[in-house]
Symmetry: C2
Subunit: 370 residues, 2 copies
């Protein structure tokens, strides 16, 4: 018996820049010309059926006009496309167009596009660089920072995926104007979540400026986009691999993700998260971590953003309780929740532990009460 040691210790620099602004297509092209992804000359633009004509074709044409080889890869818009099957179809389409390892993926769209394209990039040729051009409020809050990519499976959402950092992220706020009102509201759920976790001042800002935000006022939207990045970055940077602190970003998601699945994606992600945030602030109230007034102001802000705060009648409560167990935070078969501590803070239960075991009975009571 003998042993052989493989020493693989190294410094990894996954740093990247997030550009926030109004209409960033030209900036993307000039960054690529300036060497954003080295001397790569082949680009695969991945988008969905809605964003395609709005922004992706434009970016594709700009790339071609600049002398790059570029092709468009389009999948059907919607969370139900975030599957291993779509990933496979994109891979096969790229392979058949001759894309090898010397290419770069440009994801143009919302969270589904960036999640999926980032995952494709992570395993294509064992990893090719990718750029996120985010066109939705949700992607600005959720997908810009963190490097989380994933697909859904029949048995769980976001459980198959990887951490993969982009070369750069563009948050094009001008693109928010083409979003349906329902999508804008849905996207704001993550921003409200961020404020609940980490910033009373952002919470107050949202409360005061919700109308401007819903009307895509440039200044207000840039402010919240920046705040989203800052808060998520502070959490993610301290815990890139989601061992402890990063779990705080899961506030509202234990119930939210479960509702999203049980609704069979009738609810948008942010709508489900909004109901999840409501359920979980009620849990925090029940456990004595938020006052009645704080609880009410969270619910009131969600409503101001035109988000649902009740579990729809068509949701089978028992199926929902059962679905909670597919949550990533489950340990040894026990449900675990992140609990907000007033507004702008979360409870740290032990050193570095931000999720606490909750009896199924307690979770069931809250769910049946909504």
């Amino acid at each position: 018996m003998s042993t052989f040691n493989v020493e693989l210790k190294k410094v990894v620099d996954d740093s990247y820049e997030i550009e926030i602004g109004f209409g960033l297509e030209e900036k993307l092209i000039s960054d690529i010309k300036d060497g954003l992804v080295g001397n790569i000359s082949k680009f695969a633009v991945i988008t969905d059926s809605i964003v395609k004509d709005l922004y992706a074709v434009d970016i594709l044409n700009k790339l071609k006009k600049s002398g790059y080889y570029a092709e468009l890869f389009v999948f059907e818009a919607g969370e139900t496309s975030k599957t291993r099957k779509t990933k496979e179809l994109l891979e096969d389409a790229m392979l058949s167009k001759g894309y090898r390892r010397d290419c770069c993926i440009v994801a143009v769209g919302g969270g589904v596009v960036t999640d999926l394209a980032g995952f494709v990039a992570g395993t294509y040729g064992r990893g090719v660089p990718f750029i996120n051009y985010a066109t939705t409020v949700l992607a600005a809050a959720d997908a810009a920072v963190g490097g989380k990519t994933a697909v859904d499976t029949p048995l769980a959402t976001n459980l198959i995926g990887m951490f993969n950092q982009p070369e750069k992220v563009y948050l094009d706020i001008a693109a928010w104007k083409t979003l349906p009102a329902r999508q804008i509201s849905s996207g704001l759920a993550e921003t409200i979540k961020h404020s609940c976790i980490a910033s009373k001042s952002l919470f107050d800002y949202l409360d005061e400026h919700m109308n401007e935000i819903l009307g895509i006022d440039k200044k207000a939207c840039e402010y919240i986009a920046n705040e989203n990045c800052r808060i998520k970055y502070e959490v993610v940077m301290k815990d890139e691999k989601e061992s402890g602190l990063r779990e705080v970003l899961n506030l509202g998601h234990t119930v939210g993700r479960a509702i999203e699945t049980v609704s069979n994606y009738r609810l948008l992600h942010g709508e489900a998260v909004s109901i999840g945030l409501t359920a979980e602030v009620k849990l925090a109230y029940k456990l004595g971590y938020v006052t009645e007034e704080q609880r009410n102001s969270v619910v009131s802000l969600l409503k101001k953003a035109c988000l649902p705060t009740d579990i729809p009648d068509y949701i089978d409560r028992e199926e929902l309780v059962k679905k909670l167990y597919t949550d990533k935070k489950v340990r040894n078969g026990q449900l675990r929740f992140v609990i907000q501590n007033g507004i702008g803070d979360v409870v740290e239960f032990k050193d570095g532990v931000f999720a606490v075991e909750i009896e199924e009975k307690t979770a069931r009571e809250i769910i049946y009460d909504m």
Copy 2:
């Protein structure tokens, strides 16, 4: 327009140990008890239909007897199982058994098992730890060092995957005794490749001790297992992401991989590589980098290992030439080959560049001549 910088620079330590010996099941269990994967108590043992009864059930039972939760996940043996579909079936089986992120995958088997299970581990819950218990000669030479995991697709072999380092690798030489002779020979192709790339003394050792090795002599096999690790490690360590130096490991694989695919896996990987090594040493001879004597001694050693050195009649030569273009080394539509420099060295064409563009005509001539 404003920018936000996400700083993600950090030290990553992916170091691990390779244990080489005869019968390492008990060592695996004691390592786990000693904290090899921290306090993880759930194990998913992934294996194939052949290795299952030979070793995997034994390891499963030992895990259970030690108080761990463990389940077996079995797929049909063979390279044709190394697909996205099998990955999906394994994931769904693990999800349905309630495996979340707090588990560890134990891969028990040859290269197909370790490639596939390592890839499953890399994307399950965005990454869970895994251990490789390698039972074949090929896995000892190929899969122990490098962290390469992948699946095949209809359009290309090994192009969808990721770099993912195991927690530990066990090379159980005792298990080689249950391999069919054809598998042992196939496994030796990678060892012969390593000797051609980097070690004239290993080449000479193989030439002198081939009979003992084919008879699974403990001392001779431990020696070559160690040499394989050492050579591959020296190459991989200097270039973990396969940008330049690591391409030398592709010797014999440009033609080999293509033959393997065109044969529709009638040829084992090592058999295809053996034919590939023959083709490529002939190319090296043609280009003046090896002498006639060196060329003949490479072919002779491959034959001594009972490996094929001719392209079978059933292989369509033109299809083979076309298939060469699916190779990962292809750049801008040009075929690129690693060229051996005598025995025990490769040609460095430019600083850090170990693959050279070869005209299709030249490649075709060699292929049609075999």
